[in-house]
Amino acid sequence: MYIELKMPALSPTMEEGTLARWLVKEGDKVSSGDLLAEIETDKATMEFEAVDEGIVTQILVAEGTDGVKVGAVIAMIQGEDEEAAPSAAAPVQPVPPVVAEKVVPSAQAAEPTAAAPRPQAAAASPAPSQSNDRVKASPLAKRIAVNKGLDLTAVAGTGPNGRIVKADVDALSGEGRSPVAAPASNAGLRAEAPVAKLAAINTDIPHAVVKLSNMRKTIARRLTESKQQVPHIYLTVDVRLDALLKLRGELNASLESRGIKLSVNDMLIKALALTLIQVPACNVSFAGDNMLQYSRADISVAVSVPTGLITPIVTDAANKSLSKISTEVAELAARAKDGKLQPHEYQGGTASISNMGMMGIKQFDAVINPPQAMILAVGAGEKRPYIVDDALAIATVMSVTGSFDHRAIDGADGAMFMKVFKELVENPLGLVA
């Protein structure tokens, strides 16, 4: 019996992925749980495990192939009941990894771009219809889904044999604004990737063509969506850090034996989470006809990785100790850099924090990560002339800017939020209380 090995959906939003690398080769015997391949999704590289037992008879999609649709057959496995191939016992030999970044080394001007941009044909048909072709839905349901830009892949049909019918799509477009469905709204309501629409750039300037990673494509799409659809307001405060730095020194001294070293950022994560709980008007998601008011603060922490940026989440940060936050962030960031985060570790979150202080950036405005409604941009803590008790003094001060989704959050609420945050940081015992 031959078993078709299909491209797995490794996250709810995944439509296609890059087959980054095969961990088996033709003729290998695999059993349940063996690692077969590494697959790069829009956010992370994940390992694909075998479910069935048998011999890999044919690899149909070469490694390094991108845009492999979920459900496409990528290899054939011959089941155990067939006669075993003679080399059945051959051990699994990892294939050398391919270069992740396919930079075309055309530094010399004489050599024009070898890798021309991919033909635009794929972008001609809108994404929803492509994905909806694979789902079992009535022609009318598909038509309505295309009209409304709805993705049917996750819809449970109520028609004969689970067919998605008009009523299901109508329910979906109604429910798309309900609290249950909204957190996944970035999966349901999908704008066509704006980057795909841009015309190819013709230029004589010496250049290399760098193929976009799936992560880069996702970043491009999500940030464009955010800036196009979310009206941002920016509120900046200066926060004196001396008390926090002093507390940090004391805490680190006592934590040294446990091998934990708190960063300023760890403390700001906690401060952000506590502020979200104290000012719930800012711990929200805007969802069309209604708003989600979260009662837990999950903080997405922006982590720069070689291929782009990813935001692992510290869940329920308001109720975690600083030491716990510190170890969690360190561990998440390490795995983020290896591209090994699981989808649930970076999808979700109720607000984000981005810190560019270590680069000496004084102040910046961050782009909101929908469906979240706020992000905190943290600048460098620096010694500045500062008025203390009507006298000029020197203090360590940082500028912090909150970006708020103005559809959901009024200016006054945002201002209140920044005030509470400032007070918490300047009186930092609240962070350990």
Partner: protein, 464 residues
């Protein structure tokens, strides 16, 4: 211990189909019938009228034999023989239902059924009462003709559909009150059979539930056949004598004339059979027209008691009753059947020319806020229709411009009652205009007009 899993009260096309489906699903089933297995449809409705109309149709063809290069001499109609054939057809089907009950091991109790408590029902026949118990009871008692108090049917001069089906003499001058499906079918039958027929309709057009274009076309066609049609008209006093009926008719302009007819058929709608079956005692809720209220599976407000067919909400059609019977039986057997969408229930009227439709009329669709695309293809543009000598009629389709959903289809002309299921399948499967366009329709058939109508809605008509 109950005697049965299910008792069905009434053996019309709703009841007997429910009983068969429930028996197929392994339930122990009984059916209670006071008169004839098969109910009105099979004994006094759909089937025997179709037999009558077939005679009328052939009679019509014989009279027009010359149109086809044929000669038919000494043509005459023997109403007794026509009725006899119709009764024979009904009898044959009635026996068919008897056989189906036996085959599915459904116990038939003849007599008047009355619910006495949830799960309990008494059957009375010739003064003898028998109590039956069941976990579930389906009420499928159907409906009967609505009376017109000033024109009480006596079976001699003033008829309901039931008398009209077994005439002992041919009407010479017939008045039909009401131009719904039943009224217009009898009007058409007797007109074809040679009677002088007048139709009085209260509304401003005949077959008022159909699309306005269909009403207008049919009125013109029937008038050409010699029928006298009065819309926006009313009936005043109705005075029967031994040999005729004197009727006051109020015309569109308000003028009242008194006219003599040999017979009058009252066809002003139906009333549900909800009396004397114990509904009030059990607290089963009727709607404002006294039909039983149910959920989409047929459940009434009393647990264990279900209702289907004409005794429930409209449309009051045999095929709707049968479908509801299957849904209720499957739900009772623990299944999860799909609810029926009333917009997908086709309706057929067997006048000459025939009328068939499914879904919304153009006016209803616009009223509901749809931006519509409408196609309309005439029989005159269809080769088969011309070859048949049936070049009158049209097929109209109404699409939602936004989604391509077929909102409704409306047909008038020869054999359209056999065509409408094509659109009904498409509507039920939620096909859009592109699917209909991609479908290959065989040539030469009347069905090609269905294709052309869809093409026409999108400005792609080929043969006009």
């Amino acid at each position: 211990m109950s005697d049965y899993d299910l008792i069905v009260l009434g053996s019309g096309p709703g009841g007997y189909v429910a009983a068969i489906r429930a028996a197929q699903l392994g339930l122990k089933v009984a059916i209670v019938e006071r008169e004839n297995l098969g109910g009105i449809c099979l004994n006094w409705g759909c089937i025997p009228t179709k037999a009558l109309l077939r005679s009328a149709e052939i009679y019509h063809y014989m009279q027009h034999a010359g149109d086809y290069g044929l000669t038919a001499a000494n043509i005459s109609a023997d109403i007794d023989a026509v009725v006899k054939r119709s009764r024979g057809v009904a009898k044959q089907l009635n026996q068919g239902v008897t056989h189906l009950m036996k085959k599915n091991k459904i116990t038939v109790h003849m007599g008047d059924g009355k619910l006495t408590a949830p799960g309990k029902l008494t059957v009375t026949k010739d003064g003898m009462a028998e109590e039956l118990t069941a976990k579930n009871i389906i009420i499928a008692t159907g409906a009967r003709a609505r009376d017109l108090p000033k024109a009480k049917a006596d079976g001699k001069r003033i008829w309901t559909y039931r008398h009209a089906m077994v005439p002992t003499e041919m009407p010479t001058r017939l008045l039909v009150i009401g131009s719904g499906a039943i009224g217009i079918e009898f009007a058409s039958f007797y007109n074809d059979m040679g009677a002088k027929v007048t139709v009085v309709e209260m509304m401003d057009r005949i077959v008022p539930v159909e699309d306005a274009d269909v009403s207008a076309f049919l009125e013109k066609a029937l008038k050409q056949q010699g029928m006298d049609i009065r819309t926006s008209a009313g009936v005043g006093s109705v005075t029967p004598s031994e040999t005729s009926v004197s009727v006051e008719i109020k015309g569109k302009d308000g003028s009242v004339t008194t006219e003599e007819f040999s017979h009058v058929i009252v066809a002003i709608g139906i009333v549900p059979n909800v009396e004397n079956i114990g509904l009030e005692d059990l607290g089963i809720e009727p709607d404002k027209r006294f039909h039983i209220k149910t959920d989409p599976m047929g459940r009434t407000n009393v647990p264990g008691i279900w209702a289907i067919g004409d005794v429930t909400a409209p449309p009051w059609l045999a095929h709707k009753a049968s479908h509801e019977g299957v849904i209720a039986a499957e739900a009772i057997a623990g299944g999860h059947p799909h609810a029926m969408d009333p917009m997908n229930i086709p309706g057929c009227t067997y006048c000459h020319p025939q009328v068939a439709s499914v879904g919304m009329t153009e006016a209803k669709a616009k009223e509901a806020g749809f931006d519509v695309k409408v196609g309309n293809f005439p029989f005159l543009g269809n080769g088969k229709a011309i070859a048949l000598g049936e070049a009158e009629g049209f097929i109209k389709t109404v699409f939602d411009a936004k989604t391509g959903e077929l909102l409704g289809a409306h047909m008038v002309g020869a054999e359209v009652t056999e065509l409408i299921q094509g659109y009904t399948i498409g509507k039920t499967a939620e096909l859009v205009e592109a699917d209909f366009m991609h479908t290959v329709f065989p040539h030469p058939t009347l069905s090609e007009m269905m294709h052309e109508s869809v093409l026409g809605a999108y400005g792609k008509m080929l043969h006009m």
